[in-house]
């Protein structure tokens, strides 16, 4: 019974943690631009994050080695340093985008000034990270983030053409605007497979003291949790495809996403959408903040982990505080958080191989993992997704430039 409860908690936390501002923005924009035509890309992305999260959770449970330990060990110091710099830039951009998203959502809820809410949001994040235990942080943000399920109800209430929705799950290419379609496909894959998710997932497994006995929980969390997270992405895309596309609305504002729940469900839909967004984005801000601190500490061999407490891991604690302060400073410059989100997602796509190649190498190393090393299925999926990752990382920047960030 205890085990079932643990699985349920992990799954719920994973659902809330999967959907961040990048997913919210890209899924809604993709739905408003191509209707249901990119649903299959979400399936592809969710498959990728499940494959690699399961691997890095397994590595963490068996060897207690989180991702950045593996990066340094497998790529060497020089290439590892490049990977670290790339990962930290992406983390910081993503953190800043999430902080901006928190302030925007609070503003839509309260009507208070945006800059004051940036400060309030960052202070609230610092207090939550400092005070709450790791498990509670995951669960609170995961559970309340589930309010985003309101978009599934909204999608049904908008009566989409379910035949067209079903067609969207079949892989195809849009021949009218192939480049813009490609840009959104790359963005959706990047949003689904953002590197911070695996940094956080593997370090979290060490924080929670997973052992080989927890491999079942690992698999259940990865498959069901991220699978249901993907379900939220479908809901956002279907809502946008059913409501915004016929009206010619191109969502450029976070509030437009919430309007997608308000139109079919009224005030309750709006409030659930905004609260869900606040906690999903808040959870992602904490994930990215921790991920940055995990990466640096693991690369430099410092003591790390929330479970050690501030006194036993002072450099780790200082790092997440500095990252939070930097994220705050970036957003206070007045940069548009939505634009920042798009940059962070596309930049993260370029950095994907640095993160996922070392995971595949370690998970496949029998001398390291013994009987828990990758089997045939995990290796086949791992190699397939590595190929996908390499293609999207090479095409991300050209597509961004050629399409003027998806504007055509």
């Amino acid at each position: 019974m205890k085990r079932i409860f643990e699985v349920a908690l992990g799954i719920l936390a994973a659902i809330g943690g999967f959907v961040d501002i990048g997913d919210i923005v890209f899924n809604t924009a993709a739905g408003a631009t191509f209707g249901y035509g990119l649903l299959w890309v979400v399936v592809l992305g969710v498959g990728g994050i499940i494959t690699y999260s399961e691997m890095c959770g397994r590595v963490a449970a068996v060897s207690k080695q989180p991702v950045f330990d593996a990066v340094r060990e497998r790529l060497g110091l020089a290439t590892g340093l490049v990977a670290l710099v790339a990962a930290q830039i992406v983390n910081l951009l993503t953190l800043a985008a999430e902080v901006g998203g928190i302030a925007l959502t609070l503003q839509l809820l309260s009507g208070l000034p945006y800059r004051a809410l940036i400060l309030l949001g960052v202070l609230a994040l610092a207090v939550v990270i400092w005070v709450l235990p790791f498990g509670w942080i995951e669960r609170v943000f995961g559970y309340v983030g589930l309010c985003l399920l309101v978009f599934a109800v909204a999608a049904i209430k908008l009566h989409p053409d379910w035949g067209e929705v079903a067609k969207g799950f079949v892989p195809h290419v849009n021949t009218e605007s192939p480049l813009v379609y490609g840009y959104f496909a790359v963005g959706l894959l990047g949003a689904a497979m953002t590197p911070y998710e695996v940094y956080f997932y593997s370090s979290g497994a060490v924080e929670e003291g997973w052992t080989p006995k927890d491999l079942g929980i690992n698999k259940a969390n990865a498959i069901i949790g991220y699978g249901l997270g993907g379900f939220l992405s479908f809901a956002l895309m279907i809502t946008a495809g059913a409501l915004f596309l016929p009206l010619g609305i191109e969502p450029e504002l976070l509030g437009t996403v919430a309007l997608g729940a308000e139109v079919p469900l009224g005030q309750i839909g709006l409030i659930l959408a905004l609260v869900g967004t606040l906690f999903a984005v808040g959870g992602a801000a904490i994930d990215t903040c921790f991920s940055g601190a995990y990466n640096l500490a693991q690369f430099l061999g410092w003591e790390w982990g929330k479970y050690r407490g501030e006194a036993r891991a002072p450099r780790f604690t200082l790092t997440w505080l500095v990252l939070l302060a930097l994220g705050f400073c970036i957003v206070m410059t007045g940069i548009d958080p939505i634009l920042l989100t798009e940059y962070s997602v596309i930049f993260s796509v370029v950095a994907l191989p640095f993160t996922y190649i070392p995971i595949l190498l370690v998970a496949n190393d029998k001398s390291h993992m013994e009987r828990y090393a990758n089997g045939r299925v995990a290796n086949t999926l791992g190699l397939f997704y590595l190929l996908v990752i390499l293609v999207v990382s090479l095409t991300a920047i050209p597509l961004m430039l050629l399409t003027n960030m998806g504007q055509g």
């Binding site: 060497g76 110091l77 020089a78 290439t79 340093l81 490049v82 710099v85 790339a86 830039i89 503003q107 839509l108 809820l109 309260s110 009507g111 009206l247 010619g248 609305i249 191109e250 450029e252 504002l253 509030g255 437009t256 919430a258 309007l259 308000e262 139109v263 009224g266 005030q267 709006l270 409030i271 905004l274 634009l339 940059y343 930049f347 370029v350 920047i397 961004m400 430039l401 504007q407 055509g408």
Partner: protein
């Protein structure tokens, strides 16, 4: 130069290029495709304004949300109007008249979005139909370009 340093350099060049991409400024030459895109953006603002106005008129939204979203839409529409201003936008040869039509359409939409921020139910209902009309006009304009 060690390969690691070269790779680090490549990453930094990439980061700077990203910054440059995001810092486009000054006057821009608008070709037919860019102009059509601007008209579609105007259509989008008008259509979203009409949708929001309908929610306000029906009492289905909250005060803070309506105000903040209307203000954000107005600000975005203002940016489009500014970008189409005579000194800022340079039309490609033969597109001067079309640019003027898109600019005029954008100004009309901006004019109807401005009162939305503080609209009561009655005003919102009127704005809903006006913005709906402007969305249709902007769509026709975009299709004609």
């Amino acid at each position: 130069m060690p390969p690691g340093v070269r790779r680090l350099g490549a990453v930094l060049v990439f980061a700077v290029s990203l910054g440059l991409v995001g810092c486009g400024s000054g006057s821009q030459t608008l070709d037919a495709t860019a102009l059509q895109k601007q008209a579609e953006t105007v259509e989008s603002f008008a259509a979203e304004g009409a949708l929001l106005a309908g929610e306000i008129a029906d009492g289905r939204t909250t005060g803070p949300f309506a105000q903040v979203q209307a203000a954000a839409l107005t600000e975005s529409a203002q940016k489009v109007v500014d970008s189409l201003a005579p000194g800022k936008a340079k039309p490609a040869p033969g597109l001067a008249n079309k640019l003027a039509r898109v600019r005029s359409q954008a100004k009309l939409v901006l004019g109807w979005l401005r009162p939305l921020e503080h609209a009561n139910k009655v005003t919102a209902s009127r704005l809903q139909s006006r913005l709906g009309e402007q969305a249709s006009n902007a769509k026709q304009l975009a299709e004609s370009l």
